[in-house]
């Protein structure tokens, strides 16, 4: 005899186990990074140039570089991604071609980042002659996160009930006015979620910046968007594998700063999103 309550309990147990399996490693990673990295964190570490072949001093240029790259990528990808999403969800006809395009965009989000790196190298560094520079790196990261932003924005726009569009049209608004004043404000939380995801990915990836911008060791700040910069993920890779005898706490300290930076940027987006959510109920 099968007992449905027993079956349910067993199912719950396995679901719980699966959740634990995810939570424990993530928790452990965070704990270890904090534990090993925190001793390295002080004002000098955050604000000073690297010294002695990156074995001491700070990581300031890498922090600045990562912030520039992430901001550059968002400035490039958010407007284009949003416009594309608006076109795809509000204007394009639902036909075979549109469906192929949507599918392609969703799949682009899964392309390995090193492929974007090579693409950026060929297009921005070599073809457009931007060289290895903030511009090339930010554009490459921007292209990498475009599919994420488009897909999330499209889903956010499509989740706005049609009844809102119809009310707006019934009041004599044009289609664009309806999108601009009624649909977009209701979709902003979802669009920001996509931006958060893109932001985290742009901040953390090494491969796309490897060929397009990242400097191995450059203890000064960039003067223009055509300069190279150091960036946290690449710096972490360098001091972990390429430079011998780097103190463990500097490595973990760098990882901790990267983690904190991503969380901090996410926090800002979450706060903005929360402000909009508060007013939205239906």
């Amino acid at each position: 005899m099968r007992n449905p309550r027993r079956t349910e309990k067993i199912a719950f147990f396995f679901l719980f186990l699966a959740t634990l399996l995810i939570v424990i490693p993530v928790g452990l990673i965070v704990v270890i990074i904090i534990q090993k990295g925190l001793p390295a964190i002080n004002w000098q570490f955050l604000s000073d140039m690297p010294r002695q072949g990156m074995r001491s001093g700070g990581i300031f240029p890498a922090i600045v570089g990562t912030i520039y790259l992430v901001l550059g990528a968002i400035i490039f990808a958010l407007p284009i991604g949003l416009l594309a999403a608006i076109y795809l969800s509000e204007y394009s006809k639902d036909n075979f071609l549109t469906r192929i395009i949507k599918l392609a965009i969703v799949n682009l989000a899964g392309v390995p980042s090193v492929v974007y790196g090579l693409f950026g190298l060929a297009l921005f560094v070599v073809f457009f002659k931007f060289g290895a520079s903030i511009l090339s790196g930010a554009l490459t990261l921007g292209i990498m996160i475009l599919p994420i932003i488009i897909t999330a924005s499209r889903e956010a726009l499509e989740s706005v009930p049609d009844s809102f569009r119809e009310v707006s049209l019934s009041l004599g608004a044009s289609k664009w006015q309806t999108i601009r004043h009624i649909v977009l404000p209701n979709a902003i939380p979802g669009i920001l979620t996509g931006t958060i995801l893109g932001l985290g990915r742009a901040a953390g990836e090494t491969a796309p910046i490897l060929f397009t911008v990242a400097a191995f060791y450059l203890p000064r700040l960039p003067k223009s968007i055509f300069d190279q910069v150091m960036a946290l993920p690449y710096h972490l890779y360098v001091i972990s594998t390429q430079v011998p005898n780097v103190d463990e706490k500097i490595r973990y300290g760098t990882a901790l700063v990267l983690l904190a930076l991503v969380l901090f940027m996410n926090l800002i987006a979450i706060i903005i999103r929360y402000q909009f959510r508060k007013r939205k109920k239906w």
Binding site: V167, S170, A173, K281
Partner: protein, 251 residues
């Protein structure tokens, strides 16, 4: 005086033929009720009148609808202009959730480019009074539109529609989501509005049609079965099917 004259109207959803050769003439400053069983095309019919049917993907319309003698489906006519002059109140109260009560009422005006605060204030107050909502909301105009009760939300939606000064107002089952007291308030409101507006109201509620309307039309399976003075339809229907429907024997 006839305000809207519908001639040979057909409406389609891709391959569904939802309205079949409708002819009807709507009198100015009267209330015309549309009754009929679910799915017979009532909503589709009124959505053709303000050209909202065509925004549904793969939806089509043929035939003519004369509004003040001009065909609203002629290519020279801008649907935006038509929608401004023929307002609509929907079945479910649907204030914009991201907008305040004030902005909900002002939404149509702002979208149409009115900016001056004084003008907006005046119209918002006037239309909220017309919708019999002013006293209930005058102290919380900045609260969210969805913070009101269902009945209040529906009156807010009516105010929002009135604010753009339409000549015709289409109501699609405006009371079906409301309690009896809110329903009575809206019916009272419709009664007052017909002094100045031509009103078409879809309703499932036979008593409501009898109470508020001057003319009634009975739709069945996408066809107009009978149209006439409300009194005649309810006391002496000419068609067997109308009689069966209003006496509750089917539908």
């Amino acid at each position: 005086m006839e305000k809207v004259k519908v001639e040979g109207l057909n409406a389609y959803f891709s391959n569904i033929h939802a309205l079949k050769g409708i002819n009807i003439s709507i009198k100015e400053k009267k209330v015309t009720a549309i009754i009929g069983p679910s799915g017979c095309g009532k909503s589709t019919f009124i959505r053709c009148i303000n050209r909202l049917h065509e925004v549904v993907p793969h939806a089509k319309v043929s035939g003519r609808i004369l509004f003040d003698g001009k065909d609203i489906y002629s290519s020279a006519i801008d649907p935006i202009e038509i929608r401004r002059r023929i307002g609509m109140v929907f079945q479910r109260p649907n204030p914009f959730p991201v907008l305040s009560i004030y902005d909900n009422v002002a939404a149509g005006l702002k979208l149409n480019g009115m900016k001056r605060k004084d003008d907006l204030d005046e119209i918002v107050e006037k239309t909220l009074k017309m919708a019999a909502l002013w006293d209930e909301v005058k102290n919380k105009l900045n609260a969210s539109g969805v913070s009101l009760s269902g009945g209040q939300q529906q009156r807010l939606c009516i105010a929002r529609t009135l604010a753009v000064k339409p000549e015709v107002i289409l109501f699609d089952e405006p009371c079906s989501a409301l309690d009896p007291i809110s329903t009575a308030k809206i019916e009272e409101l419709i009664f007052q509005l017909k002094e100045n507006y031509t009103i078409i109201i879809v309703t499932h509620n036979m008593q409501q049609a009898a109470r508020v309307s001057d003319y009634t039309s009975f739709f069945l399976l996408g066809e107009l079965v009978e149209f006439g003075k409300t009194q005649d339809i309810f006391t002496a229907p000419k068609d067997k099917r109308t009689e069966a429907y209003i006496t509750g024997r089917f539908g």
